[in-house]
Symmetry: C4
């Protein structure tokens, strides 16, 4: 399990969405009969597709809209929602920024301090609308915001940074003790991101309920270019799922593996489940909805970094309502609409009654086809970088 890349150095071959395809077997099922729901942190969701905690994608209104139809959007506690009374204004500044200045504008927008009372208020707004309140922040501030969020009625709390580990060294600040944090929070905690079997096992030991998988795969993320770090999502998801299955066998406790980032089409989502995901997290797809605050733009949350901005403001355009994007009818044929319909149809063709069976379908390594959809999409990505 590894090839020589140089004398004395082996590296393992890893695989991404484009290199994999799914293979039907001896059974097919009417798509109307498959069960596409999932359970995360003890809560059952009709839609196993979460919306990324990015300010161009999720604000309180968006989270309410998605929650009402059975999905879940994650609100970032370090985003504009907790820095501005009126976050829409801040988002507008970013969206309207000239391409040459966008990095600076974003850095400026995010230099405004976070207001703790806005943390409580946003969660309260979600709870009042009777949708699950799921929020996230970085490890450095989790100790501070976690208790506030819990008090405000938060249902699931997510601690998320580019790379998370149980062991973190710093001479400047005290590292967050993840095990203690999970215990103290009492509500379900999810951790991310990781891409490794061993790290996944260590994170599971902290007492969290699930982990996010994905370092450097998203379109709005340039970790691999800037830092050289990144693992393709099929391999990363398989590895994390193997850790989950091993831990389950040993302890009887089942974690959620949430594949986060890099999925462009319904086909990619289907492949993530086939690789072992319990749920997926998307940015691009939801950024295209009419309900998204970014009006067809989104940007990574590592982008505001004052010294080393990573990520890009991507223009994806607006293509339909949340309802259309998730349940159709699809107006286009490029795999970016009716994602739930695509998932159900794929599961039916592959003979998977539910997500757990979908995790077992056969994969094949297939040279990526340059379908028009992909070409068009790539063209869009490059051309629309505004």
């Amino acid at each position: 399990m590894g090839m020589w890349v140089g004398m004395g150095r082996k590296a393992r071959r890893s695989y991404g969405f484009d290199e994999i395809a799914l293979v039907p077997g001896s059974l097919t099922i009417n798509p109307d009969d498959v069960d596409t729901s999932c359970e995360i942190g003890g809560i059952k969701f009709a839609i196993p597709i979460m919306a990324s905690s990015m300010d161009g994608v999720v604000d309180v209104n968006f989270a309410i809209s998605l929650g009402k139809i059975g999905g879940v959007a994650v609100l970032h506690l370090e985003g504009v929602s907790t820095r501005y009374e009126d976050p829409a204004e801040a988002v507008e500044r970013i969206v309207n920024a000239d391409v040459t200045e966008v990095t600076k504008v974003i850095q400026d927008v995010y230099s405004k301090p976070i207001k703790k009372d806005l943390v409580s208020r946003r969660i309260d707004e979600l709870k009042k609308a009777k949708v699950p309140a799921v929020v996230s922040c970085n490890p450095q501030v989790a100790g501070e915001f976690g208790p506030i969020a819990r008090e405000a009625g938060c249902d699931i709390f997510i601690v998320q940074s580019t790379v998370i580990t149980v062991r973190h060294e710093s001479s400047k600040y005290k590292s967050l003790d993840l095990t203690r944090f999970c215990k103290d929070m009492k509500i379900p905690v999810l951790l991310g991101n990781c891409v490794d079997y061993q790290v996944a096992l260590e994170l599971m030991e902290t007492g969290c309920q699930g982990i996010f998988v994905g370092i450097g795969p998203g379109t709005a993320c340039t970790s691999r270019g800037v830092l050289g770090i990144g693992v393709p999502q099929i391999t990363a998801t398989c590895d994390a799922a193997a850790a989950r299955d091993f831990y389950y066998k040993r302890t009887g406790k089942y974690f959620s593996i949430i594949t986060d980032g890099g999925m462009a089409t319904g086909g990619d989502i289907c492949k993530a489940f086939a690789a072992g995901a319990d749920a997926v997290m998307l940015g691009n797809a939801f950024a295209r909805s009419k309900e998204a605050p970014g009006k067809g733009y989104h940007w990574g949350m590592a982008m505001p970094h004052p010294n080393l901005p990573r990520g890009t403001r991507i223009r994806v355009g607006t293509s339909g309502s949340l309802q259309e994007i998730l349940f159709g009818p699809a107006q286009t044929d490029d795999g970016t609409q009716n994602l739930m319909g695509a998932l159900a149809t794929s599961m039916g063709n592959l003979g998977a009654h539910n997500i757990k069976e979908m995790q077992l379908v056969r994969m094949i390594i297939a040279p990526s086809i340059q379908t028009e959809g992909k070409v068009y999409q790539t063209a869009q990505r490059v051309g629309m970088r505004k």
Copy 2:
């Protein structure tokens, strides 16, 4: 026979047309001396290249033209021919639709109900012209249309959906019993599509006479993008051919393996035969003929799906008559004309006296060359998506 794509998960490497080339051996033959005919369902065809049951490619007139020169075109019983007295009018609406509205127009055109008397009439028109009547439909309606077609004098009946299996579960409708259907039909039945050795064997057990191989490879099909499903055609054809050969050895009964989709040039067709095909099925190539109803456009039959349209209206242009496309003289050098001449020349160069010997020629894995033909073609596909 498999590589690790993640911990505990292996996947097999599969191959498509572009990665394979054919290797001449110690014998060459004058192309005029090779036999390119094939036999499907007990009928001998001079041309082993079938025309896909797509409404932009095949109508009754086209099927008659192709039948007259020794080939066979498949008429779709759920297409415009059985929904409209004058199908040309419906085709025209699709062809003239603006690119932004084409999906909706197609959905609308196909919302008109099928008329059973038109099923009989179309078959009758074919029989009167003294060409083989070969028709197709989906499993859901095969039980209804099969007997009508047989009564009308149909020669070969095809049951075809994106993915076909012997076992199909549905709580909404009764699944078609393929074994009983084949037995009841009495005339030869072909089934498709499949991409797997085991599934191919199970389909052979139903009593059918041949199977179509290909899920997700065609240019007008976006199954892989939308559903994540698809197997490259060289591997799929080899596997199905291995099932055929195994079944033949065990039972003495020989099935036809028909590679369906993904072939862009004469070279691709030659490779399909080398991989084990008894015949191939093309859409693109025939859509370019003057005789095609789509006037240079075609679209997949999964495209009308009201909720999850898959497939794209492709503009391929019109490049010559059926005669020119199949037998030349080629006006162009890009491998899309004189397909039969190309097949014969390739067989001569490879020392194959007939299709059965062509199935045994040596293949090599060769990095795909970006010939101008391919580049031009890709450019066309993307640019001409109108």
Copy 3:
């Protein structure tokens, strides 16, 4: 030595120029001290780079110019030189043809019959200029033209078709007996093209002096697209060279392996020698010379085929004199000029004193770099197809 491409079917991985790079070792040599000469058919040539028998590249004047500086150009006996008193006029018609009509114009130009007296006259012109007379034709007419050429004083005779084999079947004409032909000709005979170890051995048994390696690799050749046939040149050359070395060990007779086609730059030429070639044959590079009759255009000799034209008229432009292209000074840095300087420099860096040592340098499989040169070149190929 082979990978499964499907059940029961293995195929060997083959390699082309772009996937290979050469690796320097412990010795370097001043390029002025390396010997780049070669010997073919008992004649020593200062330049181991032959010019392809294409009408856009070689006419009598070109062959004289190249011969005078130590190289050799092959005159095609079925080209315009033997069909027209004034071949320049025929070439001009092709060069000036509109892109939409070029295939037809070429077919028409080559429909004019060959005049036997012109065969003798062209060879005579070469001999009078005191350069080697090297000519070629297809196997079908070799029996007729061979003796005429020999009588006229031809030095080396080449029998060349897309694919050549010792065994050829035809019900229409008597196949050429290569062994008898080589014996009767008395002058050195070269045969081609082949890509296989076994076929190379069989061709060596005929009594010929060398073979051409290459099926489907050239830029003006679309064999792989039209016929599916083609083997990348590194693998083909290695295999033919292995046959040469085996035959030499067994019989003491040394053949010439001439890699023909697919080389775009000095780097590709160096790689061909490293793979085992004794000489190389180029079309593109020489077509760019001021001395070439095609004025910056060339086209394959399979292109005139009345029914199945293969090949493309390529515009390469005119970039310098023969002297500049072979010996510099290079006006450009893209590897298409000063080919002999590049070869000598490469041999020096790799520590090869002569071509035979160059055949032993270390190769590495390296992912192809999209150097600007390559990108530019591809752009040219596609864009300049006029």
Copy 4:
């Protein structure tokens, strides 16, 4: 460790930056706590990134600027600085040359003879500014310039050619005895370039203090296209590092491995260290600085070759000050600014306390992602070739 590329010929698969990614493990570190310094030739540098000895990148002023902030720029003793009293004027001629004439202009600029007193004077200027004086030249002139440089107070002397070996044959001139040269120089000597374990060991035996790794990988270098020679940098660096580690184990003497060329982004730099480099050498990145003499252009030092120019004048544009390029704040997100910040952040995410630990992080083989950054960059390279 090798694949068959043809009968009897094996070649090893090698890897470049784009095919590799780095994988985080169980530990992360605050980037502020990692040590990014390196030691070369006994001198400690805060910045392990050297500037290439190219005339568009380094002149005396640039070397002073970079030296002042802890880095090191190499001044080429055969460049314009030692040929012209006012080198800026010569650089200006090259920068302003039309694209069609640039090769000729460069050849002309470099035809002016080197003045020995300028060699001393340039080193003197560096020493007076109290920055390390690091200079380079080709082996042919090292015997002449080495002593002059040492007398002038040079700190580190570099002997560098496209390919360097201990054994060099020439009938025209006496080859440089590297062992004697290193011994006579007394000051630290670095040698390059090489790409091979065995050659690296032989170079270490000469008594030098470090070697440069990289043949043919840079953007301004076309060695692979022109000469067919080149080894991707990950494999080349791993091999050289393995030689260093072996030699250290045997002798206790530690060499510096400096990866030279081919790195486009911070991510590539991180990967070079992960492959085993002690330092890296860049051209492109520094050419973009306001302090670079080339005003946004650079060109390879093999380009002036009168007969076989290799390399290209590349326009990279000017994107920021040296300070911004190395330490940020980054104005862009494409990985070309704040390189030291990227290195520290990557090391923190990967849990590497210092460069020596960074040499041990896990690598994975990952299909290259076409991030927008890369696409944009490639577009720039091709489009901006002026």
